[in-house]
């Protein structure tokens, strides 16, 4: 699954560590999400989208 996490992260000047802390996950999970190698649960997708001040649809490309 493709994501726009990296792009949105850059927009808000956030590091992977910052986003991980805001979403309550490990940094590695953010790395795999960015690379599209991990399909998150709806809860995590919501938390990541919220941390990036976006909607789930804007962050994750289904």
């Amino acid at each position: 699954m493709k994501t726009r996490i990296k792009e949105l992260r850059a927009r808000y000047n956030m590091t992977q560590e910052d986003l991980a802390k805001k979403a309550g996950v490990r940094r590695e999970t953010i790395v795999f999400l960015e690379q599209g190698r991990y399909n998150p649960s709806l809860r995590l997708a919501h938390d990541v989208a919220k941390a990036l001040k976006s909607k789930i649809d804007d962050v994750f490309i289904f």
Binding site: K21, G24, R26, F32, Q35, R37, R43, L44
Partner: protein, 174 residues
């Protein structure tokens, strides 16, 4: 209130583990009886379900078992070896507690899912190993004692879980 209760639970569980460990130095049967009595005592004291205390009791059993085996064997683990093992264990626990206190997220949904998957696969690997060992023993190709059999299964489970976990973690988890 809840925090105090949790501290009390850990305190009682640690005390029970120490008691079982100390009794293991005297007699394995005494250790077993104490562990069972401790299980009921803890569950009644905490007014909670027995299964919640099972990990502590199982850990006590494992420690007690290692101590009993080490003390009874002529060329088994030395006291020095056990002390080193205990020190390594205590250091690992201290590191985990320190990192938790600092707010480092050790587990999230991905790592928990991977851990569960690795455990499931390791059960299957162990199952296959049991079948192989059984047929080897049955055909008379290789005879194993109960201790050897248990040891092979124990290490198969631990190592296969570790390797599968490392593999899944490196792949991302999906």
């Amino acid at each position: 209130m809840k925090q105090n209760r949790k501290k009390e639970q850990w305190g009682i569980a640690a005390l029970a583990a120490v008691l079982v460990l100390l009794s293991a130095l005297i007699d394995a049967r005494l250790s077993f009886a104490l562990a069972i009595a401790g299980l009921f005592a803890i569950s009644f004291t905490m007014k909670s379900k027995i299964w919640r205390q099972l990990p502590f009791i199982l850990a006590s059993f494992i420690i007690a078992g290692v101590v009993v085996v080490a003390l009874n064997s002529q060329d088994g683990l030395s006291v020095q070896g056990m002390a080193i093992a205990c020190l390594i264990g205590a250091t690992m626990i201290a590191i985990v507690f320190y990192r938790r206190k600092k707010g480092v997220i050790l587990n999230d949904e991905r790592t928990i899912a991977i851990h569960n998957r690795a455990t499931t696969y390791s059960w299957w690997v162990s199952y296959v190993m049991i079948a192989i060992l059984f047929w080897f023993d049955y055909s008379g190709y290789m005879g194993l004692s109960a201790i050897q059999f248990g040891g092979v299964i124990l290490f198969t489970m631990l190592l296969s879980q570790l390797f599968i976990k490392c593999y899944l973690l490196s792949r991302g988890g999906s």
